[in-house]
Subunit: 496 residues, 2 copies
């Protein structure tokens, strides 16, 4: 086998990725055309590898958008690192199935320990520790974390005598679409537009959940005989990185008569910043939340997938997800002597993902990881200053950590052209969002803004400087309406 | 970084795994005790790797049950291979996010092509091809495939005017627990024991879904004003490898008045055997099924996770899962010019899992993979003959492909003791199941049987011979009640 060669190929890719165009220029179907229509009857065996390595370039590379490029500023980052990739490799090589504690005890116990380490590293309260009633688990994505949180919330409400058809879900109009998707999967909503039992609560001028509006919406539902069951807050929205106030939301929930809704906090992107003590402001009130997730696979040097989901009362979660019939339950499991993580998630099977987190934490340490986040935030602050100092530009929203939203004062079309021109150079990749903005006269306008999300592993200040030079150099032409004739990369979306 | 060393470590592990005890002997908490309680503040940096590699042995190895051991015969296999592991490594190293076509076109298009290759390799009908209304996608697990199939079925029934609370789900009493779990997640069932809208239909003497009982159950529900919505068949049950008749089930569905239920086929383990033409009998009727899944990560040399889910009408699936608001839909996507696989699954983010399937197919070819399956089945047939030729033993069920269920005629306790004795040697690993057996007088008895699932990548006939020697040598002592004083590995469960 050609393992050494693959390691070298990847090391070389990481070296040369900076020289490649960030964005693939493949047209739909181009990749399909580079692949045979039928599978090979005979294996190429070890001889396959020369042609496979050739095809990695010829067939595969033109169709890649390079997320590990130092000038990838689109969506949110998905920052891999050497230690994480080696952890993934080891997980694949050992090839164990960690669905139950029994099927490889260390897969469960290393995961438990890594979640406890991360709880400490992020400054999360003890209620989320595995000693006690809480605990953490690695989910694939924040979408899955939101779904299982909703299922646990439903279970808790059922136990309190609430009928499914009375349950209502709340989140902000800036929250990730995965909240609606979770409601659709669970049968709470019959489609994206079904608002029978899903409330997209308004946000304030900072695009944070409006707590007055939340309290009102819940109260209205209680009066209508419905039961507020699940509130999903966001710690760093996809569009602009806004943080909802956990303390205020928990106050609003506690003020309700009757059932207290489950409060989940989706910190997929912004949550990991809590590894820096100065970025823990958003945690205020977390000791009253029921669950929280953060994604090391976005911004903590751990390759996708690795979402950390912590829950204060794991009993409701396990009750909602366990398919072990009552008569097969055992004292060891009930007493918490062993954890069966299959009962904390949708799938049964489990990869050994704790390995990559273990390697990352040991290689970089908490200090190394915080230093990395601090750098990204500092570079974003540098970019923010440039934007504020240039008369042609303005911020599209307040900077949040390493996310800068900017636009041309020349307006919507100009801003869009600017992004297209920059992306067409191949030297950087940006995505956009649309931000509701309240004018001085109180009217609201939806504004097209460019998002610059800093956080790729190989990004340095020089790449942010180069991005700014690109933005500057194309600003006038974009403002005057000149087109570069290229490429719509397809709108914002967040890997979650 | 120490990539080369990790490659060598894995190669060495694959060499020496045969010399290790298959089953971990860790007590609960032993692994936790080998790990510090707090995360490292300072990173060890490159210096970490000496201690990390040491800890792979000291901390991690005692807690592993070695799924890649040639004498791992428990559960179902999870057979990895060099090409697959290198595909996983490349996926991690490239670090792209394939959530949308736009975020790396080749991730979507290689996956589409691999699913089409596998459709051809398995002899699945054209309705599951991506050209047309159908198509395939890689899911993490069969559990997720079952869930999304159920969600698509619900969507189709809603479109036909069926209210959610009228929908009923059917599967056999031998089907995988993930069907009930899917129903729980979707809100069709409120717990494992809730039979309001879930029917576990009886099986016949061969443990296949009893088609008369299915027709009756559906008819009864129709008469009660309910709507049969989803029928989940199994191609190779977890316990004994029984195959439900797809053609007969589709006949029963077609005979109903009104809405025709969605027929899903869970071929997680047994389905991949269709890569051998002589093992395609179970496909009879598949041209009338709505969806089917098979798991290369069980028995096709592709490391976990890799479940292939094929659907005949992808519109219902996408409609059920898409979170793209109507006004953002576009002609290219609607026309099928590009596929957004995020709308085919629960999570949004996606690893580039098609790479490992691509490498496996090129390295082994369809012929190499079929040869491997044929060998496993032949060795199972060899073991079956030994069982039949030994007066102390009997089959616990008809052999299915590479799965042999056996027991001691001396009875339940003796059979259990035999398994425990064999597992305690560390030289092989077996799991058990309980099989409902009908006696000559018509009475039914639940019988404890040992499952021997052959399929690990490194297994050779010599390992099956060695297993038989172990079984033989411990049979008398187990039959006479002598205990070896060891280990309950915890019952059957299937990674799915």
């Amino acid at each position: 086998m050609r393992g050494h060669e693959m390691v070298d190929w990847i090391a070389d890719y990481w070296e040369r990725v900076e020289s490649l165009d960030v964005l693939s220029s493949d047209a739909p179907g181009a990749g399909l055309e580079r692949l045979p229509e039928t599978p090979p009857a005979k294996g190429e065996g070890d001889g396959a590898w020369d042609s496979i390595f050739e095809d990695l370039g010829r067939v595969s590379e033109p169709g890649l958008t390079h997320w590990q490029h130092p000038s990838f500023f689109g969506y949110f980052p998905c920052n891999a690192s050497g230690p994480a990739v080696l952890g993934e490799l080891l997980s694949a090589g050992r090839g164990i199935q960690g669905m139950l504690w029994q099927t490889s005890p260390i897969a469960t116990e290393l995961e438990t320990r890594m979640l406890d380490w991360m709880r400490i590293a992020l400054g999360l309260p003890e209620r989320f520790a595995s000693i006690g009633n809480g605990g953490g688990v690695i989910q694939g994505t924040a979408s899955e974390a939101t779904l299982v949180a909703l299922l646990a919330a439903r279970q808790r409400a059922r136990a309190a005598g609430t009928a499914d058809e009375k349950m209502v879900v709340y989140t902000s109009d800036q929250a990730h679409s995965s909240v609606i998707k979770a409601a659709m999967i669970a049968g709470v909503a019959q489609g994206t537009e079904d608002r029978t039992r899903v409330r997209l609560v308004a946000t304030n001028a900072r695009l944070e959940l409006d707590m007055g509006a939340l309290a009102e919406a819940m109260q209205r539902d209680v009066e209508a005989g419905l039961v507020p069951t699940f509130v999903s807050l966001t710690a760093g929205t996809t569009s602009t990185g806004a943080f909802d106030s956990i303390a205020a939301a928990c106050d609003a929930c506690a003020a309700l008569e009757g059932h207290v809704p489950w409060v989940h906090v989706d910190g997929a992107w912004g949550g990991v910043a809590a590894i820096c003590e100065e970025h823990r402001g958003w945690l205020d009130g977390i000791e009253r939340a029921d669950s929280v997730c953060v994604n090391p696979h976005k911004w903590l040097l751990t390759n996708f997938d690795c979402d950390l989901f912590c829950v204060a009362d794991r009993a409701a979660l396990v009750e909602a997800m366990s398919i072990t019939p009552e008569y097969l339950r055992n004292a060891a499991s009930d007493a918490g002597a062993v954890i069966a993580y299959r009962d904390w998630q949708v799938p049964l099977g489990r990869r050994f993902r704790a390995l990559k987190l273990w390697f990352v934490l040991r290689h970089y340490g908490v200090e190394g990881l915080s230093a990395c986040i601090r750098e990204h935030c500092a570079w974003a602050a540098w970019l923010e200053e440039r934007v504020l100092a240039d008369d042609r530009f303005e911020l599209g929203a307040k900077r949040s950590l390493s996310l800068v939203c900017l636009r041309l004062k020349a307006g919507e079309a100009a801003t869009k052209r600017l992004m297209e021109r920059v992306n067409a150079t191949g030297q950087a990749f940006l995505t956009h969002t649309v931000v509701p903005t309240t004018a001085a006269d109180g009217s609201t306008e939806a504004r097209y803004v460019i998002r610059v999300a800093i956080g790729s592993t190989s990004t340095r200040l020089s790449h942010v400087e180069a991005l700014w030079a690109l933005l500057e150099s194309h600003a006038d032409a974009a403002g005057s309406g000149a087109m570069s004739g290229e490429c719509d990369p397809g709108g914002v979306g967040s890997p979650s």
